[in-house]
Amino acid sequence: MAPRREVAESCLEFLYIELVQSYERKDAECAEKGDGRASRAALESIGFQVGQQLAERYTIDRARFADHLEVIKFICKEFWSEIFRKQVDHLKTNRHRALFVLQDDRFRWLRHLSLPAEQTSNTEAVAKYLVFPCGLIKGALSSFGVNCEVTAEISEDARKPTQCSFEVRIK
């Protein structure tokens, strides 16, 4: 197998930020046409495809998953650390296993976002940077045969600006 090729993380972050920005701009244009939320879908679908591809790549030669919980665990551990260099901090699941909450206290892709001073609540501004990761997770899960909805939440308190949690609701 060819040696792993790597890329500077800064490049990735710049690219990512620019991606979100550009789609936001596109939204602004589309806004008067009425479909203002197009970018959300676009970003998610991009994430979805990337997630699928990465899922394929990261599970090569790995024993097949037996059930959903294993898949989620894989996402929390290997998948997360492949992409974000760390594991998910907390994994909450409810009783009948249809709902998983992946909480990351220092979400890597939010590290370098700093809010303008006058802005108190970061949720609005940051939310759009979590659309792509949602698609990422969703794509990976779906390629493992787990159909689900993924939504993200940002912690309200300003002390932990980079804390966020992803809610995976398995259909």
Partner: protein, 136 residues
Amino acid sequence: MIVCAAVVGPSYNPLHLQTFALDDDPLKYHYIVHCALDVIDERLSPPSPRSRGAGGNDPCLGYLYSTEDFKVYGYVSNTHVKFLLVLDDPETKDVRELFHRFHSAYIDAVSNPFQLPGHSITSRSFEARLRALASS
């Protein structure tokens, strides 16, 4: 040697089928591969218990079945993509290693942004890599 290599999607739709035999009438191999899916189904169901290690969850299924003059080997990735190799020589070499290369070739192929997920793969480089695989 390997006479045919095939990739079959999660919904049992053929994604790629390539033959290396001289008299390549692909039709025959389509039939053979299609048949092999039955065996794969059998192997995969019932969902094996959550046993770690190289238990029932080993992606490499190994030997599936044999026709008059071929042996068919199988490999199922975590994403339910099925890889099949049709060999025509009786002695079985290390298919695991073959499948590993096969799978990574596939991964690179589907990482191509122009490759629509779920559509058949028509990438030249992918075919070239499989040819290399077959000739090795």
